[in-house]
């Protein structure tokens, strides 16, 4: 568990001075950030800017989980890694980049694949004031800031938050595997996950600092071609949901990735966070 800071150090005050000025954050918001743990699942196109801006802002602990190694074809969008990191575990490469930026963030790389077996154990290490976690399990109330990007489009939703749906409420039946396109097949313009990852960071920072995410019960759709954002009102948490409903039938941790139809070795799998 992450120990709560009693006060900001002089270095903290200097480092965060430009955001401490904001009435929406202030010293209390900064202290809230410092006692928050975030688990980032996937250190790719979304995870890189997300880790970068959460670390820069002073999040307390950052878990960086990824099973892949850095490849040349990642570098057009996975901007925390460098050419010299090719072949290195992404989790390690991301962790050293984050350390360069902010050594006061506790940074824990996990070079492994999330599975129903290890997920629960992992999450238990993120039990801070505002634990954000992405696993769907019965009775959960932990917010998940999820995003995706493909071609010239992006989507973002905050699940399990403010009466909004869980992933299973919104998608009660998993999509057929053949309908799931990934970046290897469909391509992606690197700056699109850049924008979506920054957007995730913004919403995580709001929640973690004690503000309210404005994406509550909403799906945000970004069309990079037209440079247009659209905000969609989603259904609320469903009473009949198999995961978060009144009589849940799924009472074990769900293998989220399998549920979404993305293969375990997919080189560009769903990089939801937290």
């Amino acid at each position: 568990p992450l120990k709560a800071k009693a006060a900001l150090s002089n270095d903290d005050i200097m480092r965060y001075s430009r955001q401490l000025l904001l009435p929406e954050l202030g010293v209390q918001g900064q202290l809230n950030l410092s006692k928050t743990s975030v688990l980032i699942v996937g250190c790719g196109g979304l995870g890189c800017p997300l880790a970068q801006y959460l670390a820069a802002a002073g999040i307390g602990r950052l878990g960086l989980l990824d099973y892949d190694e850095v490849e040349l074809s990642n570098l057009h969008r996975q901007v925390l890694h460098g050419e010299k990191n090719q072949g290195q575990a992404k989790a390690l490469s991301a962790a050293s980049a984050v350390k360069r930026l902010n050594s006061t963030v506790e940074c824990i790389p996990y070079h492994l694949q999330l599975s129903p077996e290890n997920a629960l154990q992992l999450i238990q290490q993120y039990p801070a004031a505002n634990p954000l976690t992405y696993i769907c399990y019965a009775g959960q109330t932990l917010p998940l800031v999820s995003a995706s990007a493909l071609r010239l489009e992006g989507q973002l939703t905050v699940y399990n938050y403010c009466g909004g749906p869980c992933y299973r409420c919104l998608y009660p039946v998993p999509p057929p595997r053949e309908t799931v396109t990934n970046c290897s097949d469909g391509g992606v313009l690197g700056v699109v996950p850049g924008i979506m990852g920054c957007f995730q960071a913004l919403e995580v920072l709001k929640i973690a600092s004690g503000q309210v995410s404005s994406c509550c019960q909403k799906l945000v759709i970004f069309d990079a071609q037209d440079a247009k954002f659209r905000s969609i009102k989603l259904r609320p948490k469903q009473a009949g949901c198999a995961v978060c409903g009144e009589r849940p039938s799924v009472t074990q941790l769900v293998d989220y990735e399998a549920f979404c139809g993305t293969a375990a070795t997919d080189k560009c799998r769903k990089l939801s966070l937290l």
């Binding site: 996937g42 790719g44 196109g45 979304l46 995870g47 995003a147 995706s148 990007a149 493909l150 071609r151 489009e153 992006g154 989507q155 919104l170 998608y171 009660p172 039946v173 998993p174 999509p175 057929p176 053949e178 309908t179 799931v180 396109t181 990934n182 970046c183 469909g186 992606v188 996950p193 979506m196 990852g197 799906l219 759709i221 069309d223 659209r230 905000s231 969609i232 009102k233 989603l234 259904r235 979404c260 139809g261 993305t262 997919d266 560009c268 799998r269 769903k270 990089l271």
Partner: protein, 101 residues
Amino acid sequence: MAAPVAIHLEFGGGAELLFNGVKEHHVTLPSQSEPWDVKQLLVWIQRNLLKERPELFVQGDSVRPGILVLINDADWELMGELDYRLQDQDNIVFISTLHGG
């Protein structure tokens, strides 16, 4: 007889690839004996717009899992889903969930 209904259809998140890559369609549904609902709209789309692989768009009489339907910028679950009665100038979006990043 119900009058013809002019609506705006949009496909996104990759769903547009089943419609020759065209994201926006202004269509007029012809006059018919009963008011148009979303269930009938799905049949009409299959017959008149869908270019390929209907199984990637519909499943049974609804959309396939992984496609969200939005009626005037709200989740169709809030609007009655298949039973929603279309109004003139409605904006109906079919969006495929993205995976990856």
